[in-house]
């Protein structure tokens, strides 16, 4: 779960065994940025509603507080009816993230169930479930969402969550099915079958743990889709407009012409919050992808030792000097535990925490990484 991810990625730096620390360090830089950014949003969602300076719905009757630009009293200004934008934003992040995470959990669970079932049962059920997910994929989701939600007269959060989850599973199911097919023919599955393991046990302890990365990626994707879809639906107006989410904030800002009246402080924060959240999730996801497929890695991998490597060049095998890391990565690493203990880093030597020092544990050394010849 992503909620836990920023926590698990921050925590190991303080207490967990070095193995996990190495894992965090081996994450590509942008995945770290994504994780940290997402962690901030989760934090805002958890403590935000507790620290809102005002009631987000409270309409201040005094005309001097209508559409005020940011000030000390209202850090993000006020809306046309004198509501505090910052309070709305904090509550809105909570509601949007809550909805997206619930949809993410439900839809990912559905996709795992469907995908694994299809791959394991095979035959008719496989054909049927694959057909079903392909049909769901090809039918455009937004019009269907609008039609369904247009009918649900009491437009609370629940119908939105239900409908989004119902339409959010097929992509993940396809991926999980393909992966399960690949795993089930492997030797260790045959071995556990030979030893008399029950099918559910093989599924729960052999198949599913072996595609955690894929499931995590599809979870992140689903959350991304849920944020986008729920914000778009709210913007169109087919949602519960009395509660504060990022989408309803944008709806009210747009319907009361915030942009035309020049009230950027009203319109920009919710939009930027959605955009940043989305970017964080995309970064996180490409990071997960790159962990599995080192070829996708960016410049740092392509420029070992400062020499430009054309993609058509043979794979560089030897690495004469420590690879250069990006500045942001170094900045983030500066807060990690090992760098605090590390005299090299304290002395300000670049790449101080790079392995090769005698003694001690060596994280992410080229050649011993899971990715085989990690060049970073």
């Amino acid at each position: 779960m992503t909620v836990a991810l920023p926590v698990t990625t921050e925590q190991p730096e303080l207490s967990a065994p070095p193995r996990q620390l190495g894992r965090w360090r081996r994450l590509p830089v942008h995945a770290k940025v994504g994780a940290v950014l997402m962690g901030l949003f989760v934090l805002a969602a958890i403590i935000g509603p507790l620290v809102t300076p005002y009631d987000p719905s409270y309409q201040n009757p005094s005309p001097s507080l209508s559409m005020q630009p940011p000030s000390a009293a209202h850090l993000l200004g006020t809306t046309q009816s004198g509501q505090d934008v910052l309070s709305q934003l904090l509550v809105g992040i909570r509601l949007t993230l809550e909805l997206a995470l619930i949809v993410g959990v439900v839809a990912t669970a559905l996709s795992v169930i469907v995908g694994v079932t299809a791959a394991f049962l095979g035959g008719f059920w496989d054909e049927f479930l694959s057909l079903l997910s392909n049909v769901f994929l090809v039918i455009p989701a937004l019009p269907l969402l609008i039609v369904l939600l247009g009918y649900l007269s009491q437009r609370g959060q629940t119908p939105t969550i239900l409908v989004l989850s119902l339409l959010g599973w097929p992509w993940g199911a396809r991926l999980v099915r393909a992966q399960t097919m690949a795993i089930r023919s492997r030797d260790f599955i045959a071995a556990s079958r030979e030893t008399g393991e029950k099918t559910w046990r093989i599924l729960a302890f052999e198949i599913i743990p072996n595609q955690t990365g894929l499931i995590a990626a599809s979870f992140v994707n689903t959350v991304l889709y849920a944020i986008g879809a729920s914000v778009a639906l709210a913007f169109i107006g087919v949602t519960d407009l009395s509660s504060w989410s990022l989408g309803t904030m944008l709806y009210w800002a747009q319907s009361q012409q915030a942009l035309q009246l020049g009230a950027w402080w009203w319109f920009a924060p919710p939009g930027l919050a959605v955009a940043l959240m989305g970017t964080a999730l995309v970064l996180l996801n490409t990071g997960i992808d790159e962990l599995g497929n080192p070829r996708l890695r960016d410049a740092a991998g392509a420029v070992p030792g400062g020499r430009r490597v054309r993609p058509t060049d043979p794979t560089p095998v030897l690495l004469a000097e420590p690879p250069r890391r990006s500045r942001l990565g170094g900045f983030l690493r500066a807060f990690s535990r090992s760098s605090l203990l590390d005299s090299d880093a304290a002395a300000g030597r670049p790449g101080g925490s790079w392995p090769g020092r005698p003694g001690g544990w060596r994280p992410g050394r080229p050649g011993d990484g899971e990715n085989g010849g990690d060049l970073r």
């Binding site: 090809v138 039918i139 019009p143 609008i146 039609v147 009918y151 007269s153 035309q260 955009a275 058509t312």
Partner: protein
């Protein structure tokens, strides 16, 4: 079964699922068109219920099966009933007015975005680690921005403040719609900004996908073999790596069409563009259920048809789909 026949069968099933869902949704959901009218005119007697039902032709006489058959018959004849909000206009006439706008604008913008994105993806993979590759995080941000947010800001800056483009609408109020040059030029002028917003928001997705597949194909052995033969780099990149990376890209294009159409709906709402998305919004806000459902069906079938076309292109460019045919 040949590839294309299998795909055809799939689209028939998908179309049938959409039709059937469309049939059952109004019967399973609370609220209907008659109630919408009744609540709009509170002075109507409850006895008027049947009369309105008959007027709109939404009553459900006969068994469920009978209803289903007559529903399929209606759809086959493009008879989607009467619009509630634009009464007495028929739903199909409203659709006929709006579909060409959406098709022209969204179709063109999507193809342009796909072409540019694929090209940039090839470049990014070729110069792996180059400057284009480094713009990717920025592009991801652009893609994560809610479409309507970006579109509204562009509309505000480029149209309202700088007067470079018209503010919304499909054509200027001063021209008469028809096949005359003032109208066509006005329509093109009005479509530039909406098309531009679609292109810049969707180009990053195509680029990222093409780049990722391309980075993988470029590392394949046959590319290395080609290089060992001394082939020029351009040929290696274009005819060896890009050509093979293009197939998944094309398949992705078919699957992404649903999302593209969804984005286009919102575009029309932002720009008050007289297409099917704006019609859907007005149908939803006025509880015009027959119109809503017809629009859903039309969009779904358009996406299925576009997918079928993509499949035909795949058959044309991917010999594997044909060799499987030949093997039978």
């Amino acid at each position: 079964m040949p590839f294309i026949l299998r795909r055809l069968a799939f689209y028939v099933v998908a179309g049938w699922v959409a039709l059937t869902a469309n049939f059952f949704i109004p019967r399973a959901m609370p609220g209907n068109a008659v109630q919408a009218i009744m609540s709009k005119f509170p002075n109507l007697q409850p006895s008027a219920y049947r009369a309105i039902e008959a007027m709109l032709g939404v009553g459900h006489p006969g068994s469920l099966w009978h209803q289903y058959v007559s529903y399929l018959d209606d759809v086959a004849h493009f008879n989607f009933g009467t619009s509630v909000s634009e009464y007495p206009a028929s739903v199909s006439s409203l659709l006929a007015q709006t579909i060409p706008w959406t098709l022209a604008l969204v179709g063109t913008a999507t193809v342009i975005a796909f072409a540019i994105g694929t090209g940039l993806g090839i470049l990014a993979a070729w110069r792996h680690g180059g400057w284009l590759d480094r713009t990717l995080p920025g592009l991801m941000f652009l893609q994560a921005v809610p479409y309507f947010f970006l579109a509204l800001i562009l509309l505000e800056v480029l149209a309202v403040s700088l007067h470079l483009f018209p503010i919304g609408q499909g054509y200027s109020q001063t021209v008469i719609p028809g096949w005359n040059w003032p109208f066509i030029s006005s329509a093109i002028y009005h479509s530039i900004l909406p098309a531009f917003t679609i292109v810049i928001t969707s180009v990053a997705g195509w680029m990222l996908q093409m780049r990722n597949v391309m980075v993988t194909t470029i590392g394949e052995d046959y590319v290395l073999a080609g290089q060992a033969k001394g082939l020029p780099v351009r040929r290696l990149v274009v005819s060896y790596a890009a050509r093979n990376a293009f197939l998944p890209q094309l398949q992705g294009f078919g699957l992404a069409l649903g999302f593209v159409v969804s984005g286009a709906l919102i575009m029309e709402i932002v720009f008050s563009y007289p297409g099917i998305g704006l019609l859907l919004l007005s149908a939803v806000s006025s509880n015009d259920y027959p119109l809503m459902q017809a629009i859903f069906l039309v969009i779904t079938f358009a996406v299925l048809l576009a997918n079928l076309i993509v499949d035909l292109v795949i058959v044309a460019v991917d010999p594997r789909t044909r060799s499987r045919e030949g093997a039978r």
